[in-house]
Amino acid sequence: MSNHNEKYEKLAEVIKAHKEQKGALMPVLQEAQNIFGCVSEDVQKIIAEGLGVTLSEVYGVATFYSQFSLQPKGQYVAGVCLGTACYVKNSQKVLDKLCSELGIQPGQTTADGLFTVQATRCLGACGLAPVMMINDDVYGRLTEAEVPAIIAKYKAS
């Protein structure tokens, strides 16, 4: 519970620090997402009150940008790059394999809260195409055959 309160205290500090700044909403949402892992409705309400803007404005911005998530993500976020360089080197097959292995669609989280699968925009590591990232770990020059072993590694840890 103390951890929970700490997060809200941190959010209050962030709002205070940015309140007078022009265009504060985006940086505040970004920091809120770092603190909570997502920007749920109650967090949006606090931000709206704190910055003196309407909840609809906060919601409008939070849902416009793909980086903001309204629900918590899994412990491991697996993103397969669907940038052009990866796509022409068959990253779609890697993504399909990942989805079938985990039994979910891109954008979804497994029932155990372990994995979230995303089709990401270009990661800029085109020299390693096709690329998959799981949290901060990068897997390059992948084939779909390698996917099950990589997933198993995270399940075991």
Partner: protein, 597 residues
């Protein structure tokens, strides 16, 4: 200051960091200290060297030996052999695919670098981007000092106009003219903005400049601020670029500490400071008006032009916005002069352009060539051609706004105008090579899928029109194409081009139009014959077992829908009505007995 007899440069760009260059640096430092060389040899983490294919890259000076794909296990050998005994570790040196004999690979004698001219990337892979002193040692902030102490703002604008520099973000608008418009607007506050929202898939030059040479952008923005009368700058960077953001922030802090940002810079009375704003994953924010709405904290939706940013931009004040690569050229132009810059490239297209070469090409990486370089040279001389003996099919430039260029135009000299004339565009500089296995209808579908996803939804042509185009393309790739689909696509494309609100929508149909122009027969094969000539579109494939089959049963066992039948040691057979075309059987077959057509 200590003098070192050797320097080990390790690439710290995103590509090489992803393949473990941070561990290499730690290991080098550890081994160098262990061998008592830490007073003689210095390890430097630089920005991107460009040849990402060979990453992680390590260069050892003074020889300039170019080591490629170095693993942590290789470090000890380089330290004990090269740094301690002075013997090059031949088996780790980069080898060109065509080279037969051993060569002493250095930056100067590798085919990948020889035709290049690194201006915007001049410091990438050369200096430590986290150390302002190294930038200053390479003429850093000299241009700013010159401008602030010797030039009037109008002199700066004149120099920029004379240089012929055009916007490297893809539009190609003359930078000097843009500055002139912003300077002419009267206001109590103006802003200068750097567009680092590099969203084109397959383009990463702006990120590499921010990672490898952040001070060049800071210096140029201060120069621009002086020229147009702005005292505040914003850099809008993609949040997907954590290393770039970190190094840029560090560079801004160092510049402030040195008095190169802040009040009364160089005692000239000119005040200038700048801030970073992070994007949040919206491609449309690369459009200038959308980007400014995003900095203001709102939804990144474009607004109609006019009013242009130079009249009413960020926070309703006159603003000037340029892209990262454009800024990186500016200190050089001031230092070396407009005439020098104009002498590079072709008339009307001064200077160089950085391209991110990727896809089906041997040397993936960042390439900087003078404008007017033949496309063929970039792909074959620098890029080293197509891997696995496959045939070149097309090169895609300009990202989701650009088009596919077929083999018949390989000899075109690359510049803004020539690419537009053949239905593509310069764009930010992504250059994705495709070979015979890539289906051009599917590529068009891929880009439309991207645009539909990234359309902000504000204007109808883009929101609904691109969706309708995507639906048609999806039908075609699934074998449900109908007579008249091509005409429908063309009509929609032309409508969207002429009616969409911003650049995203206006250029969204380009990938379809250019593939229709050069690869119309592929569309027709999909629609009329229900056939994908590149054997890519899954739903149009038919798998068949030939008489090379030995009856090993491997395919039958791997088939997820039991579509393959046959007895041991006898030829097997695929029931095409059951087959889901997953391709597992073909992968499993050791005798090459399964073909798709």
């Amino acid at each position: 200051m200590d003098l070192f007899r050797a320097h080990v440069l390790v690439c710290g760009g995103t590509g090489c960091t992803s393949s473990g260059s941070a561990e290499l640096i730690a290991r080098f430092e550890e081994q160098i200290a262990k061998n008592g060389l830490d007073k003689e040899v210095k390890v430097i983490r630089t920005g991107c060297f460009g040849l990402c294919e060979a990453g992680p890259v390590v260069i050892v000076y003074p020889e300039g030996t170019f080591y490629s794909r170095i693993r942590v296990e290789d470090v000890d050998e380089i330290v004990s052999e090269h740094l301690l005994k002075g013997r090059t570790v031949q088996h780790l040196v980069y080898k060109e695919k065509a080279a037969e004999e051993e060569q002493h690979a250095t930056l100067e004698n590798i085919d990948f670098y020889r035709p290049q001219m690194r201006l915007a990337l001049r410091n990438c892979g050369v200096i430590d981007p986290e150390n302002i002193d190294e930038y200053i040692a390479f003429d850093g902030y000299k241009a700013l000092a010159k401008v602030l102490t010797e030039w009037k703002p109008e002199d700066v604008i004149k120099e920029m106009i004379d240089s012929g520099l055009r916007g490297r973000g893809g539009g190609g608008f003359p930078t000097g003219k843009k500055w002139q418009f912003a300077a002419a607007s009267k206001a109590d506050q103006k802003y200068i903005i750097c567009n680092a929202d590099e969203g084109d898939p397959g383009a990463f030059m702006d990120r590499s400049i921010l990672e490898g040479d952040p001070h060049s952008v800071i210096e140029a923005m201060a120069i621009g601020g002086y020229a147009i009368g702005a005292t505040e700058g914003y850099v809008y960077v993609r949040a997907e670029y954590p290393i770039a953001v970190k190094r840029l922030q560090l560079a801004i802090d160092q510049a402030r500490e040195y008095g190169l940002l802040g009040k009364n810079i160089f005692g000239s009375g000119f005040d200038f400071d700048m801030y970073i704003r992070l994007g949040a994953g919206a491609f449309v924010c690369g459009e200038e008006t959308a980007l400014m709405r995003s900095i203001e904290g709102g939804r990144g939706e474009p607004t109609p032009k006019p009013p242009f940013p130079a009249v009413r931009g960020l926070f309703d004040k006159p603003s000037n916005i340029n892209n990262v690569e454009t800024y990186a050229n500016i200190p050089l132009i001031i230092n070396k002069g407009a005439d020098w810059f104009k002498s590079i490239g072709t008339p009307g297209n001064s200077g160089t352009k950085v391209f991110a070469l990727g896809g089906k090409i041997n040397n993936t990486g960042l390439v900087e060539v003078p404008m007017g370089t033949p496309l063929r040279d970039v792909i074959y001389k620098i890029g080293g051609g197509i891997p696995n003996g496959k045939a070149f099919k097309a090169v895609q430039t300009g990202g989701p706004s650009g088009g596919c260029i077929p083999a018949e135009h390989l000899d075109i000299a690359i510049d803004y105008d020539s690419l537009t004339s053949i239905g593509s565009m310069m764009g930010s500089g992504g250059m994705i090579v495709m070979d015979e296995d890539n289906c051009m209808v599917d590529i068009a579908r891929f880009f439309l899928d991207f645009t539909v996803d990234e359309s902000c939804g504000k204007c109808t042509p883009c929101r609904i029109g691109t969706k309708r185009m995507l639906e048609i393309l999806e039908r075609i790739t699934e074998g449900k194409g109908e007579e008249g689909d091509i005409e429908k696509l063309e009509a929609l494309a032309n409508n969207i081009k002429s009616t969409a609100l911003c650049g995203l929508g206006q250029t969204a149909p380009n990938p379809v139009l250019s593939t229709l122009k050069y690869f119309r027969s592929e569309y027709e094969a999909h629609i009329k014959e229900k056939r994908c000539p590149a054997h890519h579109c899954q739903k149009l494939l038919n798998y068949e077992i030939t008489d090379k089959c030995r009856g090993c049963t491997a395919c039958a066992r791997v088939c997820p829908v039991n579509a393959i039948t046959g007895s041991v040691k006898e030829m097997h057979h695929i029931d095409t009505t059951k087959c889901i075309k997953c391709g597992s059987c073909m992968e499993k077959c050791r005798f090459g007995a399964i073909v798709k057509n």
